[in-house]
Symmetry: D2
Subunit: 347 residues, 4 copies
Amino acid sequence: MQKVKVGIVGGTGYTGVELLRLLANHPQAEVSMITSRSEEGVAVADMYPNLRGIYDLQFTQPDSEKLKSCDIVFFATPHGVAMSMADDLTSAGVKVIDLAADFRIEDLDVWSKWYGMPHTEAKLFDKVCYGLPEYFRDNIAKAMIIANPGCYPTSVLLGLLPLLKAGVIDPSNIIADGKSGVSGAGRGANVAMLGAEMSESFKAYGVSGHRHLPEMKEKLTQLSGGEVGLTFVPHLVPMVRGMENSIYATMKTDMSQAELQQLFEETYKNEPFVDVMPAGSLPETRMVKGSNMCRLAVYRPQGSSQVVVTSVIDNLVKGAAGQAVQNMNILFGLEETLGLTQVALLP
Amino acid sequence: MQKVKVGIVGGTGYTGVELLRLLANHPQAEVSMITSRSEEGVAVADMYPNLRGIYDLQFTQPDSEKLKSCDIVFFATPHGVAMSMADDLTSAGVKVIDLAADFRIEDLDVWSKWYGMPHTEAKLFDKVCYGLPEYFRDNIAKAMIIANPGCYPTSVLLGLLPLLKAGVIDPSNIIADGKSGVSGAGRGANVAMLGAEMSESFKAYGVSGHRHLPEMKEKLTQLSGGEVGLTFVPHLVPMVRGMENSIYATMKTDMSQAELQQLFEETYKNEPFVDVMPAGSLPETRMVKGSNMCRLAVYRPQGSSQVVVTSVIDNLVKGAAGQAVQNMNILFGLEETLGLTQVALLP
Amino acid sequence: MQKVKVGIVGGTGYTGVELLRLLANHPQAEVSMITSRSEEGVAVADMYPNLRGIYDLQFTQPDSEKLKSCDIVFFATPHGVAMSMADDLTSAGVKVIDLAADFRIEDLDVWSKWYGMPHTEAKLFDKVCYGLPEYFRDNIAKAMIIANPGCYPTSVLLGLLPLLKAGVIDPSNIIADGKSGVSGAGRGANVAMLGAEMSESFKAYGVSGHRHLPEMKEKLTQLSGGEVGLTFVPHLVPMVRGMENSIYATMKTDMSQAELQQLFEETYKNEPFVDVMPAGSLPETRMVKGSNMCRLAVYRPQGSSQVVVTSVIDNLVKGAAGQAVQNMNILFGLEETLGLTQVALLP
Amino acid sequence: MQKVKVGIVGGTGYTGVELLRLLANHPQAEVSMITSRSEEGVAVADMYPNLRGIYDLQFTQPDSEKLKSCDIVFFATPHGVAMSMADDLTSAGVKVIDLAADFRIEDLDVWSKWYGMPHTEAKLFDKVCYGLPEYFRDNIAKAMIIANPGCYPTSVLLGLLPLLKAGVIDPSNIIADGKSGVSGAGRGANVAMLGAEMSESFKAYGVSGHRHLPEMKEKLTQLSGGEVGLTFVPHLVPMVRGMENSIYATMKTDMSQAELQQLFEETYKNEPFVDVMPAGSLPETRMVKGSNMCRLAVYRPQGSSQVVVTSVIDNLVKGAAGQAVQNMNILFGLEETLGLTQVALLP
């Protein structure tokens, strides 16, 4: 079988290098092109020396015509770029996975409000699928454009949907308290993300509104069939990789701790990348560092009417590049775990 | 004026060395004795070299008779030790501040259940005051025994009480999502707290129940005059010092963002160690590192009916040793800020 | 071809879990047994949840007879254990790789002095080879027992030997200033390695003597054919993984910066796991995190007569478990890079 | 006595905020003015919230006339700024402490080469003193302009000078292997200093030449009376504050370990800010975090002819702002420790 020919647009950021890391050991895919306007001519291994000896690629100018020689193009770009090239590429039969937000929200008024630009590609949405395989696998297989989910939405949706779909919780008042490592902020020079600023400190941010909130609300509403009231507060953790969400909801149907555990285990029993932790244990972000796993635990503390779910992922893998590779595997009918069998790096 | 003569029982842990750090620059107090069963004869400056040149003290065996020569004794010991010596010391006129939990919870059945030992000193509770100055200042001044609050309760109570006392929120369903640096776990050898285990990782712990929960519930109920339903999930942050709590509650009285801000500013306008951040900003734990401040922000995100409070302290200062010194100042009629004017270390 | 059947003795430490991580993706090896006296009956995935879904093994008591069913046994144990079992295993045809120090030093008087125990197995040394493939590859292939090198010696020898073997430097006065992440200290409960102790701090340790010093001196002397004077000072870096050594020597043969670069590139041009960085650049430990690479740079600063080499490895991979797998590959005639193609995790 | 009136030019960086932290508790000094071209009108407490409630100052445009109302002006600016204003200020009787490098090197050709600009103020050098109080105290008291030493030079000079001045070591071949936390790189937005780049990684930098090298060589030569050959390699440590230098030299006069210890203790016995650690112990950077202390240890490892000194400081305190305050105290005849009695923050 011929390898899938991969192009990456905008490969200088952390999701770009993470795609390269994962695809380096993918037996059925090959990166043939990687673009960057600012780094044209630079070898990827000079920018990311962990790739020395592995890739002999240089960054090139993004060129639609050349990208059409690929089977699939990943966009690891700022918002708006995938939107501008997706029509052209998909018309030529090239599949697109956007790791940014251009196709994540179907309500384009909402999208425009949160992303501060008009959305010009409403016409493409019948080719689009939201790339959360655990809930959209069949549609992903048929799509031309995958909207790779945000990191917070990935972790929150996987933790919350078993409860919401089973009708166990009151959908009107859910709390998600999220925590992310600093790689989530990207590789842009930014005083607040300096080591001397973020180390040994913890803070909430975006309390008044984070772009992942409307994404979560739309998908939760779609999948559960009713309006969802969600309060979401993200926090910054002084670490590089990893994300945890603690999710709080009030039960409307009484379920015991054991029944909750069973609900989660049943929901995800065939999922290769969702792991329900044994009853009584809790996931830590280091249990998924560098891997595509989401690990979950569910609790009913002190016999109260509250349910607490904790959900961890590596924000750059299941929260970005790993999930994108998982989507690529589905798009091309490959085994879903190809290239994604890395064991988390612990310690 | 003669200096307050201070004894410290159990000075080898992090709250012990922090008491020494703070008292080193206190103009009206002098540490005359520090005890440790295991480290007898060791110079404190050998154990904690940051104290070299500052203290010429050695750890001694705890001896009630010698401790009676002090004006005040701080217990920086495991639970149960202060209980065993408090009657003897206070009968001799020596004031006691317990940095452990022996006198924090008045309902002694609850206490025994959570701390796994019988409480033998019910008779002392008329000498006891819970040492949260912002809400118990007058009673602290008259007490012989101060139950120095837990770190999580300090941060949560300061953040939640303005709302609860004003009747703004539904008391039946409050969420506190807490995060603490690892110094909170103390200086005991413990695999889970090794640098190679806790670094670059984030996790929830104690979801099924943490000892600070009954302490918080009792004080919230006492101060607000009604039953409080609180779900509390603590998390471990890969940093040494600092604690943040994000508190979520549902409004029952509609207040605007501006009114909430005003409520908090009004509540704490005369407090030297509570700082309400300007509207639109958020506190970070590094803004209080090494200082006795609690910094707070209050939000009503997206105009929803939820109120979110974020509250940060240094768990070893306002969450332990600093608050203990503040309580000592009150007990002896000193200016409350003496010895506590350190500026937070930033960066 | 049948897979190599692997046993691991003492698998609860960090080198044990790292062996499991690497062997999980090794196409020609299979872990059939892992032992631990203290954790008998515990599933490895319960102790190391990053292995959930990957291994279905439990720790068992170490049992020589059962271990003889393996093709190779790795010892990830304290010093002295491999020594006690190696004769029995190798007599039964089982190959042994000791990740501890039992067979690293041939001068057994020196060994006994530094490791504080008598060495009982002098007779085995004709079956032993020091497992630094870049310099002992041919002998490794013929040995029954591999003394897997210490982490500091691996990094220092790879950086120093090109200069020493070429006779470029004065061998009598070499400085190696080493820095290691805290995982090198192992998983034992130990106050000095607590997160609250080692975070945000840097220190030298072992100035008066470190066990890796006699190991380095013996091998440097053997390989260069003359006495070597080495001063070695290790330091502790507040990070989990990674090791850097800066090596200082005085030139006795004048070589230009370009000639030094060429010497290094020439020396290692066929080595899969030694990477000489391009002239003018410097390696960082994150460029090898989780990978088996050693990355090197060589400098002649300011045209002085000093040569400076900086050498980085991941102490748990090339400095321990990865090099052990590399040695296993050589022992069994497999391709040397099997199971070792992980890309370093960056960021 | 009237307080010293202090102006700070360029107060937005880490040395600026550190000056503010230290001067906040200085009983004989008062900051009356702080300037920043870019942040004019911003309250310092808005930029550095650790200063909330402590300073009611705003950044203003630097204005020579207004600065002349101060008794002393600290320059916490990029190189070249102090040079441009020092003549005007000192002519008006205002003393100047430059925390940048404008007056550190007397050989102005060397200075120009390393700092990439011409030096226009040769005429001022008779008013200048290098601000290392332990070796230049008397001249500092008489100077108008203090060249506050670089962080590496402070740590290296204090560690090396006892040996060099006593003629114990060969001055021709000294190695200083330096390590610094990331706050040393300042608060400028810079990809290499992002938390996601520097965390959990260690590297050498500036091997081919660092600006602190000519500064060290000049002062070592001046103070020891002979040419000094020094190789200096700085490294970046994944922590915010702290600096360690390990210094290696060859003895030319034989001294025992005990004699070396005595030499150091004797040299610094009256110094308030240099602490020679007890024989057999080693300093850690956390032992000086936030304090103005330099802690030193001296070793002769394994009875070899090498001497090893390890020297730690907080790069922002003794390495910058703290030493500047110490110099101010000397300039104004104040007790040298005023405002500098903070105990290091441990843990």
